[in-house]
């Protein structure tokens, strides 16, 4: 039963519970009209302590397309956080007004703290460089629609794997499935955190390589998950400048990829994927963004116990 539960980390739900969400998302895509009044009378609160375009808009669009309403703030300066209010006090107040909440916060673990103080469902919409479980829902729905299932595939992850929360959540999710392999492409300084390598990948016996070049591995991949080197995660601007242009996917590199290797990216993109790649049918990142709304509709319906 997902009703009343929160999604803070991909390990919060079982494979079967995720299956329920994806099945509903596929049904919503087939017949969105059927769900257009499902959330009438319900309110979704969006607490965004950090900027967001896709995630916030897709949650808000998801709730509106379900017939519900939204309240919230899109930057902390327009909330009591600017006055020094704690996360616990803010979320307890929001619970008085809303049925379900979404939180993005620059500090890692902030949604976990918030969840300890409320009983309404709470969704982590990204906490610092830690986790972003609903981006993973988006990614998995896209993978399923492109290849049917997530099993028995080689996944390449490229760019900032250290602070890339979307990477951490997706690896955590995929590590529960049979036959997956990871090729982790990054500069040494931006490799996945120790807990991902030791506690998730190695403990689940997933074959993986950590490499610093993209070209030699392009031909092995079923999916290439590109990520942006995020300026906001660096304490030192020099490090950011040194690392930001290390991996750029262009049509020269795409020549090494198979005809059915798909390119995913959580967006926003800066320059890590050349614009010319957008026209290639293997580039699926804007499809991914659209799927994000549908899967968030499914998640809201499940957590509110409506479906």
């Amino acid at each position: 039963m997902l009703a009343g539960r929160s999604l803070i980390d991909p390990s919060d739900f079982t494979r079967e519970e995720f299956r329920e969400i994806f099945d509903l998302a596929h049904q919503i895509i087939s017949n969105p009209e059927k769900y257009s009044k499902s959330c009438e009378g319900k309110i979704l609160a969006t607490l965004f302590y950090e900027p967001s375009t896709r995630t916030r808009f897709s949650f808000e669009a998801a709730m509106l397309r379900l017939g519900g309403k939204i309240i919230g703030f899109s930057e902390p300066n327009s909330s009591s956080a600017a006055k020094g209010e704690s996360i616990a006090d803010t979320i307890r107040t929001i619970e008085c007004y809303a049925d379900i909440a979404v939180m993005r916060h620059p500090k890692e673990g902030a949604p976990r703290v918030a969840g300890q103080y409320i009983t309404m469902p709470l969704i982590n919409a990204g906490d610092g460089g830690h986790q972003h479980p609903t981006q993973t829902l988006t990614d998995i729905l896209t993978i399923e629609r492109l290849k049917g299932n997530v099993e028995n595939k080689v996944y390449g992850f490229c760019g900032d794997l250290k602070f890339g929360r979307t990477v951490h959540s997706l690896i955590k999710f995929l590590s529960n499935y049979e036959g997956v392999k990871f090729i982790l492409i990054s500069p040494e300084e931006l490799r996945v955190p120790e807990y991902i390598r030791e506690e998730i990948i190695k403990k689940n016996g997933i074959p993986f390589k950590e490499v610093e070049k993209m070209d030699p591995y392009m031909g092995e991949l079923d999916f290439l998950y590109m990520t942006r080197v995020q300026r906001e995660r660096f304490f030192n601007e020099e490090d950011y400048i040194r690392l930001k242009d290390r991996f750029i996917l262009d049509m020269d590199k795409m020549k090494y990829a198979k005809e059915d290797t798909y390119i995913l990216h959580p967006l926003p993109r800066v320059n890590e994927i050349s614009i010319e790649v957008d026209a290639d049918p293997r580039a699926q990142y804007f499809v991914q963004a659209k799927n994000g709304m549908f899967v968030r509709m499914a998640l809201i319906l499940k957590l509110l116990g409506i479906y």
Binding site: A88, K107, E108, G109, A110, R112, V113, G128, Y195, R233
Partner: protein, 143 residues
Amino acid sequence: MLEITSIEKGIVIDHIQAGYGIQLFNYLKLDKAEYSVALIHNAFSQIMGKKDIIKINNAIDIDYDFLGLIDPNITINIIENGKITEKVKLEVPKVVKNIIICKNPRCVTSIETYFDQVFHLVDKEKRSYRCEYCDDIVIPYPK
């Protein structure tokens, strides 16, 4: 040879890795104790070479989780009428609360501190722990 008289009723914390006795002493707030307490640093040990010992001449509650976290090989002897009446076997705790502080500057615990700081055991041999909130892995007391 330095001699510390034996105690009548209390606790002897033995086989503390040399150098860690002072941390334990401070954590147990023994500097504020009104009963007699001895911290012996670099005592000779056949097994360990050097060790620290703490003798507490009073029956007090000890946080065994903290001792197990520092070193599960520490020996605790409970003394009654000048004799050992109980030996406590320590274990590396699976969960520790409010003992370790997360050092990840990106962790929520770096800005908000009104809730428990919780860490979960990752590797018993290394005695490494994972922060409940940010998943950062630390080895709070390296061997």
